[in-house]
Amino acid sequence: MLIPVALGLGFLGLLGFLWALKSGQFDDLDGAAHRILFDDDEQPKHGA
């Protein structure tokens, strides 16, 4: 039956979201949007 499979997958997604919420990934939504634009400074720069 497909219903348990569908429910199970949905439930996994829900668990994932709750985990993300608990681990603080939703604490700073504005900051996260900007953070992706930062270059990693620890990498040595090559060329220009």
Partner: protein
């Protein structure tokens, strides 16, 4: 794009007479600091937010904040400090602050939260201390205020997280139940057997019932507390409606009935929770500004013990009656009476008055003001919640959540509304049963629809939210809304009265050109003025950037500066010994040297660049304006005519 040259560091305009790329020494220093650490890409990357404070270092960025009272050390020996940041513009600022901190020794973690404008630093206390590693951040121009994470916003954050969690569960359940329902609806047209339909209903019930039971809690809690207080609010019909719909659907499912409405109940909850979450986020932002103000209060206080030793304490731990020492340039953390010392106090935070107020023994000083010219000893009269600053914050909160007339109207309406809604729903139910041949389930469904649709959400939610957000925004611009009805009474205003310096004028004195002084007089005066934090002395030094601090300058609080050895004095009329006061009024400083006639430096408070526009705009709106008391009247010719 820009007509006037702007400062390379803070982006503010450069005073016309200043060569170079910076508007002040602080900015120049900050730029070289950032460049020296290889972080100059910051300037290319940032976008300046016009609403935020200019990133200009304070003239006294050495202004001593003692952070140690707010440091907490965990059991692994790692120290941490929570700070609020002022001057955050965009993502690049986060990057700059974090890079500035992470490049230093001993820092194990530094993270800026852009939503709440807060910074958490953790470090190894053996390798570094807050004063050292925070210095570059202060020098670049951010202002940092330590705060106690236990005291601020914990409750709100917890609620917000609960809403988000409930929203996630509701979303999951709504999606899945909807899928099942779609197949049931399709089944109505394609001869789905009752057994399959019942199975679908059972699965829906299995998913929806626990989800509803969990997600309805925020509403139910508020409904129950309202009912307990003998009132109703809009959460009551929501809770009753959703519960009724679920119970009816469950009954239907148990009896193999044709209609179940789990999907409607859970989807409705999902949408309502989205609304609640957004509402709470918007309110949280407005509240942040109030918390900022509260945090000003939370700087450490130096307490003098009975045996004469000094101890730093967070202000809320200081008892009334304790003796407190306030150093020059420090923000006063408590309300108190002066027992020793004489100084000038900057009260602009509380009163908006930009000219410092002199205080003497016996005078009252208030938390949130800054001690400018000499150390003061105080006897504490009030701390924490009872200070004037806390009073103002409380007034703000009352104004924000206050029963403004329209809010009160909305409240009154919803108070009458809710009973009416319930009665109407009951009548609907009875009416359908008595006068038509409908089954009771269907009648109940109509009743539930009446309950939910007539919920006065717009009135009861929207009006307070507008109130909260508007006063939060105003406050960020420096306008304190002290009355709950202020916003709506504004609509009827027909005259604007400008009071005090700093409304139409900049609120900062600047040296008036063309007194009887020469360039060398100015330089000499500035060499004395450098020793003081008094605004007039600052204005003088700003006019003579080349001056160096003279040797042996002492400050006489409330009077001026002098070099006792040379007999040179700079200060008030009284201080230099001039009796007549015919030479005009307004703020002034006198420079007196032995064997020379005293020289007067006059200061004006320049008009704001947009003052004329503001007054003109008021005129166009048909609002008269008036000026109540300008401490430094600008020349009348500069005043725009009221209707111009």
């Amino acid at each position: 794009m820009t007509e006037a040259p702007t400062c390379r560091h803070c982006g503010g305009p450069i005073p016309a007479d200043l060569p170079g790329e910076f508007c002040c020494r602080g900015c120049e220093g900050a730029f070289h600091l950032v460049e020296g650490l290889g972080l100059e890409r910051y300037y290319a990357r940032r976008s300046v937010d016009p609403a935020a404070r200019l990133l200009r270092p304070d003239d006294d960025s050495g202004q001593y904040h003692d952070f140690s009272a707010h440091v907490s050390v965990d059991d692994k020996g790692e120290a941490s400090l929570h700070l609020m940041i002022e001057g955050l513009h965009c993502g690049a600022c986060i990057w700059l602050i974090e890079s500035l901190l992470n490049k230093q020794k001993g820092i194990t973690w530094a993270r800026v939260n852009m939503t709440t404008r807060r910074l958490v630093v953790r470090w190894n206390p053996d390798q570094s201390e807050p004063g050292t590693f925070l210095a570059p951040v202060l020098a670049v121009g951010y202002r940092l205020v330590p705060y106690d994470p236990e005291r601020l916003g914990v409750e709100t954050q917890r609620q917000e997280k609960e809403l988000l969690r409930a929203m996630a569960v509701a979303g999951f359940a709504a999606g899945n139940v909807m899928l099942l329902s779609v197949s049931v609806w399709a089944g109505h047209f394609s001869y789905m057997g009752p057994a399959t339909r019942d199975l679908m209903h059972w699965v829906s019930a299995l998913v929806a019932l626990p989800a509803v039971a969990w997600c309805v809690r925020p509403f139910a809690r508020s409904a129950v507390s309202a009912l307990r207080a003998g009132r109703t609010n809009m959460d009551v019909p929501i809770t009753i409606g959703v519960t009724l719909a679920c119970l009816m659907s469950l009954w239907e499912t148990l009896h193999g009935g044709e209609y179940a409405y789990f999907d409607s109940a859970i989807t409705l909850l999902f949408f309502l929770l989205i609304g609640r979450y957004l509402d709470s986020r918007a309110r949280g932002r407005a509240r942040n500004t109030v918390e900022h103000l509260l945090a000003l209060d939370a700087t450490a206080v130096t307490v003098i013990e009975d045996d004469g030793s000094q101890r730093l304490m967070p202000p809320h731990k200081v008892a009334a009656g304790a003796k407190v020492l306030v150093a020059t340039g420090e923000r006063i953390g408590v309300d108190g009476r002066v027992t020793d010392g004489r100084s000038d106090v900057d009260t602009s935070l509380l009163t908006g008055e930009s000219v410092p107020v002199p205080v003497e023994v016996g005078g009252q000083v208030f938390a949130g003001t800054i001690n400018l010219s000499a150390p003061l000893r105080l006897v504490v009269s009030a701390v924490g919640e009872r200070t004037l600053l806390a009073e103002i914050v409380r007034m703000m909160e009352v104004a924000e959540q206050g029963r403004a007339r329209y809010v009160a109207l909305a409240d009154r309406v919803s108070r009458w509304y809710a009973p009416v809604v319930h009665v109407a729903a009951l009548l609907t139910f009875l009416g359908w049963i008595l006068f038509t041949n409908t089954v009771w389930q269907e009648a109940l469904l109509y009743a539930v629809a009446v309950l939910i649709i007539t919920c006065p959400c717009a009135l009861a939610l929207a009006v307070p939210v507008v109130q909260v957000i508007a006063s939060g925004r105003l406050m960020r611009q420096g306008v304190l809304v002290k009355s709950a009805t202020a916003l709506e009474r504004f609509a009827d205003a027909d005259t604007v009265v400008f009071d005090k310096t700093g409304t139409l004028t900049l609120g900062k004195p600047s040296l008036e050109e063309g007194g009887g002084w020469s360039k060398s007089d100015l330089t000499e005066a500035a060499s004395l003025a450098l020793a003081s934090r008094h605004p007039l002395a600052r204005a003088l030094t700003a006019a003579a950037p080349a001056a160096q601090l003279a040797e042996g300058v002492t400050e006489v609080p409330g009077m001026g500066m002098e070099i006792a050895a040379a007999g040179t004095r700079l200060g008030s009329r009284r201080f230099v010994g001039i009796a007549d006061d015919s030479s005009g009024d307004g703020p002034e400083l006198w420079l007196a040297r032995p064997d020379q006639a005293p020289i007067r430096f006059a200061f004006t408070d320049a008009l704001r660049s947009d003052a004329k526009e503001v007054v003109a705009a008021l005129g166009r709106m048909g609002v008269a304006w008036n000026c109540c008391r300008a401490i430094v009247p600008p020349p009348p010719s500069e005043w725009p005519s009221p209707w111009g």
